[in-house]
Amino acid sequence: MSELTFEDVTVRYGSGRREMTAVDRVHLTVPSGAVVGLVGESGSGKSTLARAAVGLTPVAGGRILLDGRPLPRGGRRPLQMVFQDPYSSLDPRMTIGSSIAEAIPRGAVPGAAARRDEVARLLDLVDLPADRAGCHPAELSGGQRQRVALARALAGRPDVVIADEITSALDVSIQGTVLNLVRDLHRELRLSMLFITHDLAVVRYVSDYIAVMYLGRIVEYGPAESVLADPRHPYTGELLAAARRGGPQAADTVPASVADAEPADPHHPPTGCRFHPRCPVGPLVHPDRTVCRDTAPTGDGRPHRAACHFVSSAADPAAA
């Protein structure tokens, strides 16, 4: 297994006046054999980061490294991706067997019979009977399709698997199956994985490390328990409060001006710290904290880092 590193990666869409920086100088490491959960709301750039990693979106700046070396162009792809919507990620005209077989690197398994065996092995890996290889996607349920998509990703013998919201299009009763499978596969194969979702509870269940993304920047990164037990960035605290299910919300503790603040427009990101217009410990509540408006905070190099000027005080409201 390998370590995937994003070094100062920037991705832009559009040009001229409509240009938008979807991912802004992101540093992120997926350690070898670990699952890194990447959370953030829609528009935070998490899917763009994934697409950049697998080469579907060009990178405008920075480097993406695998074990310290740039990703190879062409040939075997060491990164594979599983998509959100299992209804569009499988070719409706192809049997699932040939969809999976297509992803097996050429030359890795010579001979038609060996390829068939390999497909059967992969299907077995994702708990599907081998005789399903002849089915078309239309004959499968959403959960089964998502497992086929996982099998296809594994067929490429990837060093790192990127899973982009793979449970959010599924019914609740089926999400569990897919999450269990992800955990089992991770245990069995020691896969390195970048697991993208908007649901902190899901991320908590599968991840070793958690990275929180807001408007194109990573605002917090650290070991899963540490981030969840002691969120340093106020945005993480907010996500956690939203994810805490059951019982009425403790939203009252947050001033109304903060609670009703609008999510920022990614085309016109705020200056300085991008979270400052919604931040419960920022200039909205503490008018003297102008530094948030002027200077973008950087995370320091510690294992659990948060990009916030007032890290220590940020933990207080979340703990209260």
Binding site: E41, Y87, G142, V172, R245, E262
Partner: protein, 645 residues
């Protein structure tokens, strides 16, 4: 429906059958006519030059005394062959140009696209004429001329279709897997766009038949001694006053053959059309079978509430034995519940459980062909089922507000938000324009939209998702609703925004004593807002219990499984999640017993035979399960195989 069944279905329609017969006849004639009548068509009879139509020569003879009728029959082969040839050239060039952008990548592809766009702007026949002049008169010149004239339109169609398929995730997946561009094109793109292309090629064949006849008629197409319909038409036209049949017969032949191709194309388009639009159609978890777009009922308070003397005096909404059916399928099968004033009740369930349809039925928003039946369906003591349809909008408008999942589609995109809210007051409260707008601003302020007066002048697209949803709730508050039905109001929103909208719903409810019926697939959302939860499965309520008892007092195995299937922040990370084996129930294939039995760990033979009724459990809840008393040991998580096997 398989594609074979669909084609068979098309053949059974009058147009489909006529088209198939006609085209079959034309093709048969093209093959057989020269063999059978080739001799007679070329037989020179100097004794009967330019004879009019007669019993012997049905369409008369030409200037060498040859029988025109037989010449028309024999010319079928040449005409059809050349038309098909030209179409083949056009389709081949079009396909090549259309798929080049995919093969060349974005930068060069844009050039090709631009070139095609320019070519499309030229009228086809004009292109064909100028090409025919360039290539020289004669069939060998006319074929590429017409082919090239067809090509741009075909290229454009191919480009559009290919681009839409190329944007789908499975193509991205193939590219990530290292599949080359040519292989992606051949294996993934072409098979998925083949059907509409074939349909269009058929139509193009009809068009090129006409175009060829035109060129030959002008003398640019087939040259003597060969002949096709266009030539025969041209020759016949010279003597049209002496022998009209000589021009009419080839003309009719052109029309019939052209019709044959076009009708077949039309019929095929019908067979292909619906599916290409939704090929591999997206299906979202929250996308319950919902009828056509539904209008939003607008709430007001024109009709005062009539006090009702009954046992359920404080019941706001009474639903008994509600059924919603679409033809033979009944997705809601006997739902009953009551909703008290100011009470918040959540309905949870998976897609297809009938939760959204139940809400829409209460709001009388089920449209044809859907049918609502119920023993009782009363809102504020008024019987919704027996209210004449004309009075319904007023009745519902008085007391009901509705909030949908996607606030973008619930607003009119070309009208300012404030205006849309004000309209409610004008329509139902009889307010004039000024006061109505003032109230709209006031209501926007009530749902905590910052800068309400400025925002009221903006269009829906200038609002963020969460803000639109708040404005939607604000629209519901233009009157004084007694009930807000919210159908997955936060599913399309981010978690932090979701919290704001739910808090707002709770505030509105507390401030005005409004009852809330909240539809969601997310138990967490329901827990935040509601007092009571109705759990639906396969069109029935399987459990009804207070929210406080949900976590540890749920008695139906489905409710318990739902709770365990979704991780929360307290889930044990070392244990696998609970999994509900099997597939969600299919409303089209109901089982005689309990609908959950095939997926239930407690099910026995009795469950498979008899459907349990929803029974009061004596402590404020209801449950429909034969084994409600039984508590299984913490669900064996190994039961994960079901779905796959």
């Amino acid at each position: 429906m398989t594609s074979r069944a669909r084609w068979a279905g098309v053949l059974r329609t009058p147009v489909g059958a006529a088209a198939a017969v006609l085209l079959g006849a034309v093709l048969l004639l093209a093959v057989l006519a020269p063999l059978l009548w080739g001799g007679r068509a070329d037989e020179v009879d100097t004794a009967h030059i330019l004879a009019p139509a007669s019993a012997e020569h049905w369409a008369g003879t030409d200037n060498l005394g040859r029988d025109i009728f037989f010449r028309v029959l024999v010319a079928t082969r040449t005409s059809v062959r050349l038309a098909l040839l030209a179409t083949a050239v056009g389709v081949a060039v079009g396909l090549l140009l259309g798929t080049l952008p995919l093969l060349l990548g974005p930068r060069l592809g844009r050039l090709v696209t631009a070139a095609v766009n320019i070519a499309v702007a030229f009228p086809g026949l004009l292109l064909a004429l100028s090409f025919a002049v360039i290539f020289g008169a004669g069939a060998s010149g006319a074929v590429p001329a017409i082919g090239l004239a067809i090509a741009p339109a075909f290229a454009r169609l191919t480009q559009t279709l290919a681009a839409s398929v190329a944007g789908r995730d499975f193509v991205a997946a193939a590219r990530i897997a290292g599949v080359g561009r040519v292989r992606v094109l051949l294996r993934h793109v072409l098979p998925n766009i083949a059907e509409p292309l074939l349909v269009n090629a058929t139509m193009a064949a009809g068009g090129s038949l006409l175009a060829f006849a035109g060129l030959s008629f002008l003398g640019l197409g087939v040259q003597a001694p060969d002949y096709d319909w266009g030539r025969l038409l041209g020759e016949g036209l010279n003597g049209i006053y002496l022998n009209p049949a000589a021009a009419l017969v080839p003309g009719v032949a052109v029309v019939l053959a052209g019709l044959a191709f076009n009708l077949v194309g039309e019929a095929a388009a019908k067979a292909v059309g619906p599916r290409t639009a939704t090929a591999g159609g997206r299906k979202r978890a929250t996308d319950d079978a919902r009828p056509t777009p539904t209008p939003t009922p607008t709430p007001t308070t024109a009709v005062p509430v009539r006090p009702q003397q009954s046992a359920q005096a404080d019941a706001l909404l009474i639903v008994e034995d509600l059924k919603v059916s679409f033809g033979p399928v009944t997705p809601v099968r006997g739902v009953g519940f009551t909703l008290g004033r100011g009470e918040a009740v959540g309905i949870v369930g998976e897609s297809g459980s009938g939760k959204s349809l139940t809400a829409l039925a209460v709001a009388q928003l089920i449209e044809r062909p859907g049918r609502i039946e119920a023993r009782r369906l009363e809102l504020l003591g008024d019987d919704l089922l027996r209210t004449p349809p004309r009075a319904r909008p007023r009745l519902l408008g008085t007391s009901l507000a509705m909030v949908f999942q996607d606030p973008m589609t619930s607003f009119n995109p070309v009208q300012r938000v404030g205006r849309q809210l004000a309209e409610v007051a004008e329509q139902h409260l009889g307010h004039r324009r000024g006061p109505a707008l003032a109230r709209a601003v006031d209501r926007l302020r009530a749902v905590r939209i910052p800068g309400a007066a400025r925002r009221a002048r903006q269009f829906p697209h200038e609002f963020s998702g969460g803000m639109r949803q708040r404005a939607m709730i604000g629209m519901g508050l233009m009157g004084e609703p007694k009930l807000i039905i919210a159908d997955e109001p936060t599913t399309a929103l981010d978690v932090t925004v979701q919290r704001q909208v739910l808090a707002l719903l709770a505030d509105v409810r507390a401030a005005d004593d409004v009852a809330v019926l909240l539809i969601s697939h997310d138990l967490g959302v329901v827990e935040q807002v509601c007092d009571r939860v109705l759990v639906m499965y396969a069109g029935r309520i399987v459990e009804d219990l207070p929210v406080a008892r949900l976590r540890d007092g749920a008695r139906h195995p489905y409710t318990r499984a739902l709770l365990g299937a979704v991780p929360d922040l307290a889930t044990d990370r070392d244990q696998p999640l609970v999994v509900i084996p099997g597939r969600p129930a299919d409303p089209a294939a109901p089982t005689p017993g309990c609908a959950f039995a095939p997926r239930c760990p407690l099910a026995d033979d009795h469950c498979k035979r008899a459907d349990p009724a929803l029974i009061e459990d004596g402590s404020g809840g209801r449950v429909a399960c034969w084994h409600a008393e039984q508590r299984p040991e913490p669900a064996p998580a190994a039961a994960t195989e079901g779905e796959g096997r």
